[in-house]
Symmetry: C2
Subunit: 346 residues, 2 copies
């Protein structure tokens, strides 16, 4: 049967986003409750009473998204939930329920799965979400975790990717690049260990980078800050594939472009030092590293004062007319076109 | 890290339901909207306006749930959606949105995935549900499909597994066992083909059995019939793991037992003939075959007239006090204890 269909177009030629477009471009929304479908961090299900429901799903595959040789299962459980609830925060909503579907080899020890679930339960407690269902099945090759999250937001709070307008400020929470550098350190030490198991891994001093990689915290606190400052982003997305990729998603969805100042990018001093040690460019890590799970959003100029000297946020650029390119501008005012490598799983 | 956790308890010693109990027994529900969590066909998310949301997730893994050597990808896409929406019908609700997460090898041809999505889109049209999101990622071994479904029901319509009471009628829609027999025919012909590829598979005459296996239709029509006859089941479940297993789920959740009459089980004549041809017991196929995606429910005695001569339904037994065993009674009135083998993926 497969031979009839094999036109020799392989997925890797399209990439993840190209593939999703190819498969879902003719999707029709039939139910009035389906307010926003594919193409944002969550689907938006409209309710009658001023509340919207937010629905999102993510799949994590061993060997693609995580490596059990340095990812403790409890951290994996926590991270899998964080990755999912982050999509609800990226809509300016609050997650309430998750389902967890698990594919696992029958030879996997039950105690190891209990560690995984200890992480899932801890994350549920941290984010105040409820584990309400899922599925457990056998897998022939490694661990597969598929989580869906259901959240809620009042209709006036929901922040789509599509709301940015010219002159809006482009702002990111926390820092970017440290998760990727944490991964590079883990990979380096794994390589050393594999070539000589008697050498202990050198992870001391990289704690904040490694923690950001192994157990990132979704920015629930940022949503609370928004509520306290009576602020609603004009558009928002979470930084999972890489800052540059997410900036381009906002630009495409909103029909605008962005100018980004490289010297405004929030990069930890430890990230700069580690990048230098590893011989890689810290700006590339910040722009294309991914897995930061920070929130990237736009704000009307009138909200400038709320973010100007706020240590939780960095104003990294502004929206321009879409006739411009997305630009990365350095401290000498020379500009290059912003490129997004993102993550290519395929 | 794994070595610390390896207490040598393997999943296969617990089975799927034992494993789920082990991992989720200490689950806490923190949100008032989480009305029903783990343990029914769907979670029930309570809304304020008289509507409940229903949420369920299922994962299908190549080699465990389907075999691409005889499962056309378009049928697989349709079936994956059917399996999920069936869980919403089993709550007496209507599905409205699905998310589809896909793990697939980068070498998989795009045209084959388009076939899969053609089936998903066709099922969305058939069931009037909207594909609103999901995830697409790489997998090292075969195809993984994880679908979540969000449905809706008025609070007074929701049918849990837990509502059956003594003397309620036990009723099943359609027929049971044909899907399992369709699978046996497909497996037999695959075996013949593998031993001699020049022999054409003999599938003629088994169409209804094979169709039930490859492309089962979830019983949306049964929910419409319930509405038309102003009927609400006292409890309900869909038949995915096997009739006996589902009867025991209803019994356990409702705190009752059931007496089931073997000569009342709806078994197609073609199923009986095929079972005889294959040398297996048609009653075992009906009770333990699974993948029927029929609806099994209980009804108050006052509703007897609605189902007595209704060709869409079979009254197969009744609820008894939980001090009794679950019994299978033959036409000579001799009774044996009902056993559930269900599906053991592990």
């Amino acid at each position: 049967m497969m031979s009839d269909n094999n036109k020799n177009v392989e997925i890797e030629t399209l990439g993840e986003f190209g593939l999703i477009d190819e498969l879902t471009s003719d999707t029709v929304l039939r139910n009035v409750s389906s307010h926003v479908g594919i193409g944002d961090d969550c689907a938006v299900i409209s309710e009658n009473d001023g509340e919207d429901k937010l629905l999102s799903s993510d799949m994590l595959v061993e060997g693609v998204h995580f490596n059990l040789s340095y990812m403790p299962l409890k951290s994996l459980g926590f991270k899998a939930v964080s990755v999912n609830v982050s999509d609800v925060y990226a809509m300016n909503g609050l997650p309430e329920q998750i389902t967890v579907s698990l594919g696992v080899s029958s030879k996997f020890p039950v105690e190891a799965l209990k560690e995984l679930y200890a992480g899932i339960h801890a994350a549920c407690e941290y984010y105040s979400v409820d584990l309400v269902g899922g599925d457990t099945t056998s897998s022939f090759s490694g661990l597969i975790l598929s989580i869906s999250v259901l959240g809620t937001a009042s209709k006036s709070d929901v922040s789509l990717r599509s709301g940015a307008k010219e002159n809006d400020l482009l702002i990111v929470s926390g820092d970017v690049g440290s998760s990727y550098l944490g991964l590079q350190i883990l990979e380096r030490e794994k390589g050393v260990f594999n070539s000589n198991p008697n050498i202990q891994p050198k992870l001391d001093g990289y704690d904040e980078l490694i923690k950001k990689q192994l157990q990132p915290i979704a920015r629930m606190d940022v949503i609370s800050m928004f509520r306290e400052m009576s602020f609603t982003p004009t558009s928002m997305i979470d930084v999972s594939d890489g800052l540059a990729s997410e900036i381009m998603h906002l630009a495409k969805s909103s029909g605008c472009s962005f100018s980004v100042y490289s010297d405004k990018l929030p990069i930890l001093e430890k990230s700069i030092l580690t990048a230098q040690e590893l011989g890689i460019d810290p700006y590339v890590c910040a722009l294309n590293g991914g897995e930061d799970y920070e929130l990237l959003f736009t704000a009307d100029q009138k909200d400038f004062e709320k973010f100007k000297n706020n240590p939780n946020f960095s104003i990294i650029g502004f929206a321009t007319d879409k006739s411009n390119a997305n630009l990365l501008i350095d401290k000498n005012d020379s500009a290059v076109t912003l490129n997004a490598q993102g993550w290519r799983h395929f």
